[in-house]
């Protein structure tokens, strides 16, 4: 019961710290406690000033991603029992600017999400009176996995190519882009190709594959990115065959 674990938390308070520093806390823990619960204990009992994002506690809202012992993970889904005897090292997600403590600036991702046109561009328009589009379970399966992305950004923290070149659209957003392309209701693939094939697009990926390794929702973003390399390459070479001007 009375077990404790040492949590070394990376702190950065822009108004007082020149750069990030580790601060150590002793946290009592039980077997069912997640890293998030450990942090909440710190905030409630030891240090009110520690800032971090969280909400659902059940690995679905995507807020609580952080580096835990050097690996990107959801803190609500990582258990202290598995990290004992510790110490546990907690840092803000890699590759993003630290706003403060464990909170990163994620505007860049939102910006990218907006650029992938993450909505159905109907292949055939349909009115509400006509009812739903038919979509067989097999058609659903083609994109379902890529639609389970919770935008937790772990894959971005895992991807060195994003770290090296933040212009890269990155695994998570490309997985979502692919989700729409692969949806039988959608006809927007050609429109989205511009971004896929751009200098910011899929060819920044060197198939490191760590993105898929850390993804808590088995989205397999590496697959989405690399499949689209083939598509983009095909589009590139076919482009030479098409009459000039027909390419948008």
């Amino acid at each position: 019961m009375a077990r404790t674990i040492t949590m070394e938390v990376l702190r950065y308070r822009p108004e007082q710290d020149a750069g990030p520093v580790f601060q150590t806390y002793e946290v009592p823990f039980t077997d069912d406690m997640s890293v998030l619960q450990g942090l909440l204990h710190i905030k409630d009992e030891l240090d009110e000033t520690l800032s971090f994002r969280w909400s659902c506690r059940m690995a679905i809202c995507g807020s609580c991603g952080m580096m835990i012992n050097g690996k990107p993970a959801l803190s609500c889904k990582t258990f202290l029992r598995d990290l004992a005897p510790g110490p546990v090292r907690i840092e803000a997600l890699n590759h993003f600017p630290i706003e403060r403590d464990l909170v990163v600036v994620m505007e860049d991702f939102i910006d990218k999400l907006e650029r992938i046109q993450p909505y159905i561009i109907p292949k055939e328009p349909r009115t509400l009176e006509q009812g739903e589009y038919l979509q067989t379970p097999a058609q659903l399966e083609k994109y379902e996995q890529f639609s389970s992305c919770i935008n937790c950004l772990l894959c971005y923290a895992a991807c060195p190519q994003y770290g090296l070149n933040p212009d890269f659209v990155g695994p998570g957003a490309l997985a979502l882009l692919h989700r729409y392309n692969a949806d039988s209701r959608d006809g927007g693939a050609a429109q989205r190709m511009e971004l896929v094939a751009a200098e910011e697009g899929v060819f920044n990926c060197t198939a490191v594959g760590y993105c898929s390794e850390v993804c808590p929702k088995h989205v397999d973003p590496a697959n989405a990115v690399n499949q689209n390399k083939t598509t983009a390459a095909a589009d590139y070479f076919l482009g030479f065959l098409k009459p000039k001007g027909s390419r948008t």
């Binding site: 907006e114 200098e199 060197t206």
Partner: protein, 127 residues
């Protein structure tokens, strides 16, 4: 929010050319690489499994003299170089050497030079 992002012009990447060559070379290297190394670097020089004169001048001229042999050599050597050049170029970037044009010239230029030399040699050997 994001309005400027939406209107930022996109430049099409020319990577497909290099990526395609990289992929083809990688695939060849994966499928045939180990055995080729074994044959040319170990078995033939040692006369192990293969006859000691397996790579004799006559044999090799016959092989490279045939158009099929030429095609094989022209596929293997340049594609290995393109594969490696592309990877090395990215690895330089990975370790923080963003030499830009220089790196590009060394990696892809080297592969291109190698390709030209192979073509020249094969032509010299004749049919």
């Amino acid at each position: 929010m994001g309005d400027d992002a939406m209107s930022r012009p996109l430049k099409r990447s020319n990577a497909p050319i290099f990526w395609g060559l990289f992929g083809a070379g990688g695939m060849l290297a994966a499928l045939l690489g180990p055995m080729l190394v074994f044959i040319t670097g170990i078995a033939a020089p040692l006369g192990f499994i293969l006859a000691p004169d397996a790579m004799s001048y006559a044999n090799m001229m016959a092989f490279t003299g045939h158009w099929l042999g030429k095609a094989f050599v022209f596929a293997i050597v340049p594609l290995f170089l393109w594969h490696a050049g592309h990877r090395v170029f990215h690895s330089l970037h990975d370790v923080g050497i963003h030499a830009g044009m220089v790196a590009r010239l060394v990696c892809y230029g080297g592969a291109l030079l190698g390709t030209l030399i192979v073509a020249w040699a094969l032509l010299l050997i004749g049919f």
